[in-house]
């Protein structure tokens, strides 16, 4: 017998590799709290067989999927369950995205507009009547605090204060800062520049950075997302061609979206650059391990930290780099929290209909944080930060910020000077 054509009997239709072991369902954050959600197995590979027979089998309840991809991490057979569900939602949802969803999805447009008049916007967004109105009219839950907008964008700060001196470094990386750092939290970007500069590395911005597109993808604005993605990947290619060692991100979702959602959901081939798009912590860890970078830490630095593994960091498989770096800091007492979803999932938790689900999912994480009672929670994801700060009394910092605070800048710079 010469069955060369069916050597593997492994289907190229990824959903068929599901052996129906049900392990994914035991790790889906949504099924545990929302009985209306069919669960990853039913919504994903099982449902897909039926949808191929008749699109009428599409269930609206698929919208409850967080796109956290924990099902995929759990799957012993490599089934891209989350992708199957997301693709089905995109293909079969008939209604156009609502005003609310479009607003939430357009992070960069909203950001650009809001930073211009940040103080006014921030006050307005925090006002009870405004929040009530938003709840009523567009369906953004009134329990939510929308993230505050910064009055100075990160990119503005960078051009004014940092761009010039980056040229001094022979080693360069490009920084994908993302909407959050740019409009809401420039301090994280500033911390990265401080840390990498001390580590003998120049940081540059990409020529044209658009939102990674995660919010547009999950709100089904696919054409818009693809447009942005193409611009981003072109910018990545250009940065690498111009000698950047990598494109680093400080937000795990941005990084994950560009690496995996671009090819899997948007059909954009990024195979030539995927490996070069990485988390700043992963890049730094590798540089330290190879001896190319050395860090000197402050003697007086003492912190009790709890590390939260964001869903997309788990999917990226890069949490160990962040954890590894934090463990290098002599004064840090680090507890790695059980890896559980915080419940926010980007724009998901902002939607009125998802608020309760969102908070129920996060409750396990919030309880564990309270038990540990750390000085700070640390995590690689900005929306996890919002959720934890909204739902617990603890402040959250990115590992890059912790590292930037922990190093002795002068000593580190000296160690890395060529």
């Amino acid at each position: 017998m010469t069955m060369d054509f069916q050597e593997q009997n492994i289907s190229s239709h990824n959903f068929e590799q599901c052996t129906k072991c049900t392990v994914c369902t035991a790790y889906c954050p949504v099924t545990a709290v929302n009985a209306l959600y069919p669960g990853p197995k039913q919504a994903g590979p099982d449902g897909e067989r039926y949808r191929l027979k008749d699109p009428e089998f599409f269930e609206k309840a698929l919208k409850f999927c967080l796109n956290c991809k924990r099902c995929e991490v759990a799957c012993p057979s490599g089934v891209r369950i989350g992708d199957i569900i997301l693709a089905a939602r995109i293909a079969h949802t008939k209604e156009r995205p609502s005003l609310r969803d479009t607003m939430l999805a357009s992070t960069d447009l909203m950001g650009r507009t809001a930073t211009i008049c940040a103080p006014v916007v921030n006050v307005a967004l925090a006002l009870r009547p405004v929040k009530y109105l938003m709840d009523l009219t567009v369906g953004i839950d009134s329990h939510r605090r929308l993230p505050k907008y910064s009055s100075t964008k990160f990119t503005t700060w960078f051009r004014r204060n940092a761009a010039e001196r980056q040229k001094e470094f022979s080693r360069q990386v490009a920084y994908f800062h993302g909407c959050y750092v740019n409009y809401n939290y420039p301090d994280l970007g500033i911390a990265l520049v401080k840390l990498l500069n001390a580590a003998g590395t120049g940081v540059r911005l990409m020529e044209a950075e658009r939102c990674c597109g995660v919010a547009k993808i999950s709100n089904r604005l696919i054409d818009e997302a693809r447009h942005d993605a193409e611009i981003n990947i072109a910018a990545v290619r250009k940065a690498l061609a111009e000698g950047c060692q990598a494109v680093v991100a400080t937000g795990s979702t941005c990084c994950f979206t560009m690496r995996d959602e671009y090819p899997h959901i948007l059909g954009i081939d990024n195979s030539d650059v995927r490996d070069s798009i990485t988390m700043a912590t992963a890049w730094l860890y590798r540089m330290i391990e190879s001896g190319d970078v050395k860090l000197a830490f402050r003697k007086d630095f003492r912190l009790r930290l709890a590390y939260h593994t964001p869903c997309h960091m788990e999917k990226l498989g890069m949490a160990n780099y962040s954890i590894g770096l934090l463990r290098m800091i002599p004064g840090v007492e680090l507890t790695v929290l059980d890896s559980n979803c915080c419940g926010i999932a980007g724009t998901y938790g902002f939607k009125k209909e998802n608020y309760e689900t969102s908070q129920a999912i996060g409750s396990k994480l919030f309880r564990q944080i309270a038990e540990i009672n750390p000085d700070f929670v640390t995590t690689d994801c900005e929306t996890c930060k919002w959720q934890i700060e909204m739902s617990t009394p603890y402040k959250v910092k990115n590992p890059i910020e912790i590292l930037a605070e922990a190093i002795d800048v002068e000593a580190t710079a000296k160690l890395n000077r060529k």
């Binding site: 289907s11 190229s12 239709h13 099982d46 067989r49 269930e59």
Partner: protein, 539 residues
Amino acid sequence: MKKIGKHYDVIVVGGGATGAGVARDCSLRGLKVLLIERFDFTAGATGRNHGLLHSGARYAVTDRESATECIKENMTLRRIASHCVEETGGLFITLPEDDLGYQKTFIDACRAAGIEAEAIDPALARRLEPSVNPALVGAVKVPDGSVDPFRLTMANVYDAKLHGADVLTYHEVTDFIRSSTRIEGVVMKDLRNNGEGISATADVTVNAAGIWGHMIAEKAGVSVKMFPAKGSLLIFGHRVNNVVINRCRKPANADILVPGDTVCVIGTTSDRVPFESVDRMEVTPEEVDVLMREGMQLAPSLATTRILRAYAGVRPLVASDDDPSGRSISRGIVCLDHASRDGLEGFITITGGKLMTYRLMAEWATDMVCKKLGRTGLKCVTAERPLPGSEQTGKQEKLRGMGAKAAAGRHGTLAADIAADKDSDRALVCECEGVTVGEVRYAIDKLNVDNLITLRRRTRMGMGTCQGQLCICRAAGLLEEKHGCVKRQLDDMRDFINERWKGMRPVAWGDAVAEAQLMAWMYAGNAALNQSDNTLIQL
């Protein structure tokens, strides 16, 4: 020996589509009917074919008569069996290595047989059915479709029962009650009751036992020379195509790919096999090889699609001695009156034909039964009256949940009889195929189900990707509730799993082995069903 007190007008032997069709036709005409099946309904060739709603195009060139019958019945089934039929349409494709000249012969023959056949541009064919071999150089559109033989047969049985027919499954005909020139009834063995003997009488007995009709005729003392032609098929894990794909050439191996429900099926092979083997057909590696090679010519993506299982059926062709494969034997209907043929009164054989023409076969046989009974005034209505489940109600209900939608597809309007009020009714037993607790209970109560294998045939439970891994224990619990014997249910689970494994074995590589290992862990290992019984062992 037990004797059934009631005297029947007609006893029908064989619970395939034909036998069920005869039982329905006879009972709709007001006759007293007993339908007997050795194992379970659809256990023979009825449940082991493509499920193709032939347009007849396949036979147009070689067998005009069959082709004409097919297209007529095709249109009839769309009307009377709408819940068993998917109107997918079909393509006959010409590949570069085929003779494109044959296309014209083919279209002319189709039209002569009354089959709408239209040559279309290959580019249009690729749009109609994206999975089709893109190298095609010609395509003809025909009114093929798919038909679910399990549903079709059970709808006939259901209607026959509704009109007073008695049915016995797991009853094997072992002998006939006869006078010198007449069959007066049958002697059966109750296979579910230690082979206890039981007899029944009727004015006429109809032999509708498919390939097994050969042996039934022998028991009656007459000879119907049959030709057992084995046909093997492969089932794939999902619907690769939504339009039936055929090869536009003389019928050959593995040249039809049929989408049906959640899967698609490639077939068939055709080989003469000895009668002794018809009860234990197994698919050989060589057959799998042929099916894959040829199947990929129709739809290249089959090469990377999961094969769920392989199976084989035996066509009941009526023999001609000079054709080793049986391909050129007419698929035409053979209805034998053994009185005029063999001098044996009260006995009819209905055979040949095909799933597509089961209704017409039943009509012919019933006409002959009525003639023998001297009740020729009774008219056949089966071409007009919809089968239960296919009545046009005009109501379009909004269905919630996978189970309800899947059940509506399987049972048509009868799905309304499936309990769905309580959450516990709507719970899924089979997650791959969307079979609910309500549907399982419905099948047990209404569709002659008493074990897992029969449950599968009535509902698709265990026919999906995992081949029963999740649903077996759930269904076993529901069945045990009904019959109350744990030991019997444990054996039933073993039988079911090994029956599933039988179809997985010929394709046991890749994902099929991963699946089989999980199945074995769950049931042989965790559930300890590999321990021969559940008496408490001593260590």
